[in-house]
Amino acid sequence: MGGAADPPTASPRRDLDDHHHLATRRRPGRRHRPAGPSAARRPRRSLLPYLLLAPAVVLELAIHVIPMLVGAWMSLLELTQFHIRDWSGAPFVGLDNYRVVFDVDSAAGAELLRSFRVTVLYTVLSVGLSWMLGTTAAVLLQRPFRGRAVLRALFLTPYALPVYTAVITWTFLFQRDTGLVNHVLVDQLGLVDEPPFWLIGDNSFVALLIVSIWRTWPFAFLCVMAGLQNIPDELYEAAAMDGAGFWRRLRSVTLPMLRPVNLVLLLVLFLWTFNDFNTPYVLFGGSAPAEADLISLHIYRSSFQTWDFGTGSAMSVVLLLFLLLVTAGYLLLTNRRRNDA
């Protein structure tokens, strides 16, 4: 049986590989073209493309690049309430703020490290579980059946709700005495005797994770669903004719064909989740419990509640570099794998 299933399942792989080879074969050609003899004869470019690009460039500079540079500059200053009105008067302290951030023996450094660990765990669990849920739902809803459209709409609801409204509702659900969660756990199911806390203490991490997954998985569902539309039915038909069952089709057709979608999806989910500010801020207010103190909220507290914008900016710069590093590493790794394939 296994032997019989092998050849047909190999064919979609080969097909995929052909796509990759095509892609990799074309790319170098494109890259080399400007260096060729035709480059010298290229006609003078008109200004039009630059003019068309200009608004986007200006906005990009104003919204992303300049604040980033200002943030990096702030991280070199002792920017407290004494100087926020006139930054030019803030003393230049060089890398002192970074020393505080990296000194894990100091309270500020130790707290940041703890917050970083919590955030990494939160991101891995949230992204992993959201992706699994989204993929499972998308695969189960791949074939048409009665009520599929209704289910699709229903699954996307959390994604369509405004973040603040949704998370505030969760804070009500998680209240110890009056929340629905404890009502179900204690009064209806009788699973625990004493109503647990969700918004303070150890469980706050679980509460945060639940809300995060609830908010995130519909996006994974949406992307994977779109990706599934692009898988030709012939592949499944061929696999089915060769006797591949559901799991085999999933492993050898669906997942390989979804790879390009998943590569982007996981990266985007990682960045969103790691930087998530709204969920913990609305769920816990400005001061999250230590167990659920995500890094974005931690930086906010370090900057705005203690009025120490220099250190807060240094933390932001470190966070930015970390995310850049992870993203670059991820892209390099996945590109190399694709090129090797």
């Binding site: 309430q81 009105r85 100091s106 707290e111 806390f197 203490g201 207010g285 509640q305 009025w307 930015l320």
Partner: protein
């Protein structure tokens, strides 16, 4: 990055929402703090007074009532960008912190004269308007103090004839009142500001200070450790506070008191809030906040901070004269009576203290406290940071107590030390 973006966004929002400082003669922008039952209610209370001001001076005041959770950040953004309101309400404990930004108009004697003169204001309230060695950064608008609110019916049912005057009595009385789903006392355990205010009062009673004379933090002194432990022990040891209070941060403790789920509450001028929650004024009594039965050496007879709301003017205003005119109007005798009566607070000017509007039991207790046993929170630039860090440390201690983890002197000291280390 986040900081820069948020500050930039805040300034953009400020521009976009028409919050430019007044146009030089005919309009002013005023950010009011939330004193009444809701933002909308505040607007309805203030609008007729602002109309009166317009009739008198021709200056139109655009008011926005800003919730407490946003006010400090909004003020900070306004200070940073020079965009925003002309006149603002500030929590009086933030005075020195905001003063340090240099964004607020200084009320030196000449400026004070323009709003009626220094002597008009209650001295204790004016002392909580900035660092002691500098001209005030604001003038007091509404004065408040903490008091003990107790449910008369619950007390009668438990056979208690008088409100407790010491913490020991409170624990004893509280135990009698706890049971059958009701609790002796309600606290706002997850609200850092409330926690910090109580930390201050308890520390005063134990002879502790949060900053030394040079303005350096002294969070983890034995007195402060004992003070914080005493407060958290109301839940951890005395067990007169519902553990659920450890997650209260949105005035749920006031609701619990109004709904009879808790028999006592420590709050600033809760009357107006209780009324909005349908609790009749004769259903509760008001008494001074308790003291220690046996205060240690150095312990002070303090049972409240000098609480209150100040009114300040931003230096970036294009209509300084109009803004000061408005401050004078808001601190005039008529407005002081009208507004403080509505909000249940006390006037910040001495001239109307005897007005019948402030003769209710609640106001008498608050006035007596302010006059005799209240002390201002440390007027140092790092005050708002102290509230955040120490308030959060106490929030964590309440969370420990609620989950059954022991709250010991060591665990309190450790949290306070960590908070202190985060002060730079």
């Amino acid at each position: 990055m986040l900081t820069a973006t948020v500050l930039a966004a805040a300034s953009l929002t400020a521009c976009g929402s028409g919050d430019e400082p007044g146009d030089g003669g005919t309009t002013l922008t005023y950010w009011a703090s939330n004193q009444g039952a809701s933002l909308e209610a505040d607007k309805e209370i203030l609008q007729p007074e602002l109309d009166k001001f317009e009739q008198q001076t021709g200056i139109k005041v655009n008011v926005e009532v800003v919730p407490w959770s946003d006010l400090l950040n909004r003020l900070l953004a306004a200070a940073t960008t020079g965009q925003g309101p002309d006149v603002v309400n500030i929590g009086n404990t933030w005075s020195a912190s905001l003063q340090a930004t240099g964004a607020l108009v200084e009320f030196d004697d000449a400026t004070l004269d323009k709003v009626g003169g220094k002597d008009r204001f209650v001295p204790a309230a004016l002392a909580a308007a900035g660092a002691p060695d500098k001209p005030p950064a604001a003038v007091p608008l509404y004065s408040l103090a903490y008091a003990l609110y107790y449910n008369k019916q619950s007390f009668a049912d438990a056979g208690i004839t008088a409100p407790p005057t010491t913490w020991e009595e409170m624990a004893e009385v509280g135990r009698k009142l706890t049971g059958d789903g009701t609790w002796g006392l309600a606290v706002e355990g997850a609200n850092p500001s409330e926690n910090a205010h109580h930390a201050f009062t308890f520390a005063q009673q134990y002879g502790g200070e949060w900053f030394d004379a040079a303005g350096k933090p002294t969070f983890d002194t034995p007195q402060n450790v004992a003070a914080v432990k005493r407060y958290v022990d109301l839940m951890a040891v005395d067990k007169i506070v519902n553990p659920s209070n450890a997650e209260y941060a949105q005035n749920q403790s006031v609701s619990d008191f109004a709904n009879g789920k808790a028999a006592m509450l420590l709050w600033q001028a809760a009357g107006a809030n209780l009324k909005s929650q349908s609790m009749a004024a004769d259903a509760y009594g008001v008494a001074p906040v308790p003291f220690l039965a046996n205060p240690p050496a150095g312990g002070k007879q303090v049972n409240s901070m000098v609480a209150g709301i100040n009114i300040a003017v931003f230096k970036h205003t294009k209509n300084l004269d109009g803004a000061l005119e408005f401050v004078k109007f808001m601190t005039s005798d008529t407005e002081q009576v009208t507004l403080n009566k509505t909000y249940g607070s006390l006037p910040a000017v001495g001239t109307v203290a005897a007005d019948p509007a402030f003769a209710a039991d609640e106001q008498k207790v608050l006035a007596q406290t302010l006059a005799t046993t209240a002390a201002p929170l440390p007027q140092v630039p790092e005050e708002s940071t102290f509230e955040t860090l120490v308030g959060t440390a106490i929030k964590e201690l309440f969370a420990d107590a609620a989950s059954g983890r022991p709250v010991t002197e060591d665990s309190v000291r450790e949290k306070l030390t960590r908070a202190q280390q985060q002060m730079r």
